[in-house]
Amino acid sequence: MTLIGWIQILLYCAIVVALVKPLGWYMTCVFNGERTFMSPILRPVETVLYRIGGVDEKREQHWLTYTVAMLLFHVGGFLIIYGLMRLQALLPFNPAEQGAVAPDLSFNTAISFITNTNWQNYGGESTLSYLTQMAGLTHQNFLSAATGIALAVALIRGFSRSSMRTIGNFWVDVTRCTLYVLLPICIVYTLFLVWQGMPQTLGAYVEATTLEGAKQTIAVGPVASQVAIKMLGTNGGGFFNANAAHPFENPTALSNFVQMISIFAIGAALTNVFGRMVGNERQGWAILAVMGVLFLSGVAVTYWAEANGTSTLASLGLTGGNMEGKEVRFGIVASSLFAVITTAASCGAVNAMHDSFTAIGGMIPLINMQLGEIIVGGVGAGLYGMLLFVVLAIFVAGLMVGRTPEYVGKKIEAREVKMAMLAILVLPLMYLGWTAVAVVLPSAVASMANAGPHGFTEVLYAFTSATGNNGSAFAGLTGNTFFYNLTLASSMFVGRFFMIVPVMAMAGSLAAKKSIPPSAGTLPTTGSLFVGLVVGVILIIGGLTFFPALALGPIVEHLAMNANALF
């Protein structure tokens, strides 16, 4: 670990924190339906969309209608991606003449993108046409991100409203989020990325003759426009197979730094939206503090582990940390930091190959996802995931003192706690369940690229990433098989929607409750006691759930490595 490394990490945190208030203020205006400085240009587009779509923007929805609208929207999104992938050979914008994608891979990818997972069983440059990349993947990057944010805002309204039947209008929330928040930032961001060296072209792959006279086919494409939303919307699905490690998808140290900021920007700012909407910004800062404690602990461990390297490297006298699967322009620190960020948020973009991380360095990304990606988290998904843990923490605190727990003026009762537990328990059910199935099926075991405990970790990581809608991978695992395409798709589907529906039910029941003023017996939820309590609940629930699985994977591998065992 170096001083300059830590300065980069702290600078990163400082910039993310500095963006929280301005972005939080702007998004609050957008979701409250107020005029913003973008309105003169965007308001006419917005009204046309509502008129054609038959949306009455003044009419709000009950939580059930809101949820049904969201689900219908995803059915359509699924069909568009699946259709484009199957038919891409017949459609325009396909200079590399990519053929139709197989049905199981198309199914997996379509589920992957509508759930904001963006698991890559496809290799972008070797499988997909430009049209599929744009109208299939780029469009769903926007819409799945907008959906996540809309749902978080709906849950916030549940807390901030009093005795109301409705939680907002899904169509209005998604449209406003796309037009006012995501699109303007992405336009500027795309130009920045192209300036840094990212291609943005519809031209064919380039044939080059290298200095030594060999032929090199260089894949290009409309990369920057997709990468902008891929990072900002915490989607993470790469244009190229190597994702953000590919020099075209992340050309410089600066593009890397800005990409890392854009992963966290919206998720962190949503804590401020929460604070503003419930009438006390300090409530938002307290939540961000919980995230910050967990985040910095993860960064420190992974950075330490990667800088230390492996016993194999040490025995050969190689110093400088574990550079296997990392790029020179990012080095140890930017690769470690990126890995922790991308798994804390449910982004899943990678600028280094997690499969080649040290056992402990790779365990932190795994833990980040298993905690439910609540450390900033996916745009929207992170906040509502975190609020589930807050509800539990408040409930536990209430049990300790024997009072009905309250949070930001709402009584937390049986229904909320049941919904929170339902949403939280769905995740380990999927990733532990499918991992258990995969390791006893010989055909699934055959997909492992590494032997020994590392192979087990590959499988555990895959199902954790899919269930958490992350999308990063221990990419040695051959995931493009019938078994993994279907089981991973089911993990992504359940991990997304079986979490969302209870969250929306909770939003509805909270909105219907009266707001009560704080009394002498109310636990203050803005101080360090509260922050410590939530961190504790997250670690205890997480620890009890997945520690045994970690012991079989990264922990035993670390011990084996220290004993110089190879597999």
């Binding site: 300065i7 969309l49 054609i52 779509g53 038959g54 049904v68 219908l72 359509g76 568009i80 109208a135 926007f142 819409l143 449209t175 796309t178 336009i187 795309t190 130009l191 300036w195 060296g197 990212m198 291609p199 943005q200 380039v206 080059a208 003759t209 290298t210 200095l211 030594e212 090199q216 260089i218 894949a219 290009v220 426009s225 197979n241 490690a245 020099p247 075209f248 600066l254 492996t310 194999t312 050969l316 006298g317 190689l318 550079m323 296997e324 699967g325 990392k326 790029e327 020179v328 322009r329 990678v350 190959m353 499969d355 080649s356 991380f357 590494n450 221990f474 990419a475 040695g476 597999f567």
Partner: protein, 200 residues
């Protein structure tokens, strides 16, 4: 609930048209106008022919060139499409070795590479980036140590004084952005082009 079906179709199609077609196509047009070179892939031409991209590494095997890092990219075997063969720096694909810290295959590969390099330059410690594969398999850079390590070999193959070659390497070291972000590095293709120029 039925009234939600109309927006589910129409809002979806309109937003798809905006974000999936209008946005990327407009960005392609704008970026192509403002940054034409980058938008096409930062291509380098020599005598009217494309010889590569400034951002994409390429394979160097000859002694007279600086070598990049090992690349773990594979490609379908032309003889049997169900198998893959090693295809270093294949820029129509990308990816890393994905071998973990306790992988015997990785340990053996690194050991072999270290021995080869030690034979080439016994007096300098082997820099780690020269024996580890990059994440993309297309890493255009090596560390300054990785370049300096190769100076004796390159100088000998070209009949140039070592100091001259070393000087060229030092001129090609790219610093951290604002002295802070990223790592020190040398772009292998740029260095080799300069080397060809200097040998004329």
């Amino acid at each position: 609930m039925l009234r939600e079906i109309r927006p589910a179709i129409l809002i979806l199609l309109l937003l798809t048209a905006i974000t999936g077609l209008a946005y990327p196509l407009a960005m392609t047009a704008i970026a192509g106008t403002i940054f034409p070179k980058q938008a096409r892939g930062s291509l380098i031409e020599k005598d009217g022919k494309v010889i590569g991209s400034a951002l994409i590494g390429q394979e160097f095997k000859e002694d007279k060139y600086f070598h990049g890092r090992p690349s773990a990219i594979s490609a379908p075997d032309p003889a049997d499409s169900s198998k893959t063969v090693s295809a270093p720096y294949n820029a129509a694909n990308s990816g890393g070795s994905n071998l973990g810290p306790t992988s015997k295959a990785l340990a053996d590969r690194i050991k072999e590479d270290v021995e080869k390099l030690k034979a080439e330059n016994p007096s300098t410690p082997v820099p780690i980036d020269l024996v580890t594969t990059s994440a993309s398999g297309l890493d255009p850079d090596i560390s300054p140590e990785g370049a300096l390590f190769q100076v004796p070999r390159v100088a000998k193959a070209r009949n140039l004084p070592e100091d001259r070659v070393r000087q060229l390497v030092i001129e090609h070291i790219q610093g951290r952005m604002a002295g802070l972000l990223g790592e020190l590095r040398v772009n292998v293709l740029a260095l080799n082009l300069a080397l060809d120029e200097a040998s004329k």
